[in-house]
Amino acid sequence: MLWRDIIYQYDGTFDGLLCCIYESYTKKEHPTAFYGDGDEMFSLFETRTVVTERAHAERIARSLRKLSPDVLPFLRRVFLTCLDEKELAIYRFVVKLYREGAPYLTRLSDDTYQPLLRAVRHLSAETEHLRGFLRFSVFDGMLGAEIEPKNRVLPLLRGHFCERCHDETFFIYDRTHREALLYSDGCSRIVPLDAFEMAPPDDEEAAYRRLWKRFYDTIAIHERENPRTRMTHMPKRYWNTMTEFQSENDVPPLPPA
């Protein structure tokens, strides 16, 4: 019997996606697209909403774990990337993995597998970048930062910053995906947050920003100036949330001595 083409609408969670895979196998359907929670849907294809059931998701998770303990963590990471049609890419990967078994996982150059690997590399690189390029401001003893990542990096930044800023209270706002990582008293959570406006810096904060900008400008060796290398290591898209690239005007002038 031929598998039917269909579009799945799901709740946008990873477990939801696993349920779609379950649905596809039990109903012998062949998804051609996935719509997440907020996506608009206009299509001539048949569309059905897949309800997320823990048992179904667990069934798929168990089967994947049996093939290799690394698959599920890998797919969770793919799910955080900004890969185009990532649900479809994950679905196709899983289908192929079921068909070929665990040895498929060593075929790093396979056309279904390799884009996923590349997307995860992009995600890891961005996480690594933001560990360094993220800038906190201090407001009344609390730390706050804004970032504009392409991938959903907050779950991956969580462990690092919770350890680094263990005794602090802090938040990191992700402008792209409109969510925030909140941390205080040893507990952290990620919550959706539609709009957020950073408070202007107070005197102490402004002074530190000025010191840092000055340090940054001073540490470069003029005779070795190399804008291309700088841009390779630190793409310009990060600059607008970094203190050292804010013009002096954004920092209020020093109070008269």
Partner: protein
């Protein structure tokens, strides 16, 4: 003097130090302390300065008020520059303030020689102790050990810092005598030897007692200036190799000489820093540390310097046609690493990917092999990866064309003189 001004003077004076890494120390959060050292293997870059160098530490001198007279140095006694010295408390507050805002991973503290090496080191120890003990700073600290410091002070310094470094400054004793009259080879090597032995001792103690004090857990590094004196690349590479071997250094840094001083002993003030040469030395340094090359394989007496037009690995490959082609589906890891265009990561991927079936040329590309370079040196199931059949000279010309595109514009122009 205002803090902003002090920071400007003391960062400006420290900027010629190449080392700025926060790698090698894994220390988690500690109760009541601020921060931790990065868990990532490669450290953490917090920004890149306009010259494209990674900034990960607050790199400053404790003071630039130097009593030495090194000819190549901006801070030498006879130079007319503004002088400043940090108060330990000032420095500690600055470090903590920057650290909390995620500007830096920690502190890189060096200093000019204030009257004597011992006096200077005592002041550095006082500043670091304040930072560690009163300000409870648990982040990364890189401290410079000044040649001529007494061993007791070096061992105190090593207990406060994650990494120590002693600058070897110039690649030979002759140059040292001419350009840095207050420093001798013996005085430089003595603390390096001490740091090596003390770190090994500390590791052995840690095996027995979990709470044994850690001495420079991230090891030691050094730096030498390239292009201020006449040594060949071969000399520098052999020196590097022996430093890695005999002193178990973590890194050797090269710093292209930037002329800051008019002196008959030095290149003239309008000389451009030899950046391409420095780049080639770093490439060769990587070949020594990660690719299993030895210094004598890369350069010999007939060819004492690297070819600026090609990277050292390509040069080696072209001189050893008998080693190639390497069969991607069969060769061992060490052989794959010697192929231009194949790196540590792509070599490992090849090993994994070929388990389930033979690889073809387009698979290699997807695994991250740079085929622009590798195609002349690899076969896939007996078939050469390139459609072209070229002689050694033809390969050289093609590789040079690939390389030219990656070099900065002026370097390309300079190079056209050779062609």
């Amino acid at each position: 003097m205002e803090l902003l001004e002090k920071l400007t003077i003391l960062a400006d004076a420290a900027k010629y130090d190449a080392a700025c890494t926060s790698s090698g120390a894994k220390r988690g959060h500690k109760e009541g302390m601020i921060g931790c050292t990065s868990s990532a293997v490669a450290g953490c870059c917090h920004t890149f300065s306009a010259d494209g160098r990674c900034v990960t530490l607050l790199k400053v001198l404790l003071s630039n008020d130097c009593s030495y007279e090194c000819k190549y140095c901006v801070n030498r006694r006879s130079n007319d520059v503004p002088r400043a010295t940090f108060e330990p408390r000032e420095l500690a507050e600055l470090t903590i303030g920057f650290y909390r805002r995620n500007y830096i991973e920690g502190l890189f503290l060096s200093s000019a020689v204030l009257t004597s090496p011992d006096r200077t080191t005592e002041r550095m120890i006082a500043a670091l102790r304040l930072l560690r003990e009163e300000y409870r700073f648990n982040g990364y600290i890189h401290a410079k050990a000044i040649p001529g410091t007494s061993p007791e002070l070096v061992s105190q310094l090593g207990l406060l810092a994650d990494r120590l470094s002693v600058n070897i400054e110039l690649p030979s004793e002759t140059s040292l005598r001419a350009l840095a009259p207050n420093k001798t080879k013996a005085a430089i090597l003595a603390p390096m030897r001490q740091i090596r032995d003390r770190a090994a001792e500390s590791k052995a103690e840690l095996v027995k007692y979990r709470s044994a004090p850690r001495f420079a857990p991230a090891g030691q590094s050094t730096q030498l200036i390239v292009g201020a004196s006449g040594e060949s690349d071969r000399h520098i590479m052999r020196l590097t190799e022996s430093l890695y071997g005999r002193f178990s250094l973590k890194r050797v840094f090269y710093s292209a000489y930037v002329p800051v001083v008019e002196s008959t002993l030095l290149p003239s003030l309008d000389t451009k820093p030899p950046l391409l040469r420095e780049h080639r030395l770093y490439q060769a340094d990587w070949l020594l540390r990660f690719y299993g090359f030895r210094a004598d394989e890369l350069l010999d007496e007939s060819q004492p310097n690297f070819d600026p037009r090609l990277d050292p690995k390509c040069c080696w490959a072209l001189r050893h046609p008998e080693f190639f082609p390497v069969e991607a589906n069969r060769a061992d890891y060490e052989a794959l690493l010697r192929v231009p265009g194949v790196g540590v990561v792509s070599a490992k991927r090849i090993l994994v990917a070929r388990r389930t079936g033979p690889l073809h040329a387009d698979d290699l590309k997807k695994l991250g092999v740079v085929m622009k370079r590798a195609q002349y040196f690899l076969t896939c199931s007996g078939r050469l990866a390139t459609p072209l059949r070229l002689s050694g000279a033809g390969i050289l010309a093609n590789l040079m064309a690939v390389e030219r595109a990656t070099l900065p514009a002026e370097a390309g122009e300079q190079l056209s003189l050779f062609a």
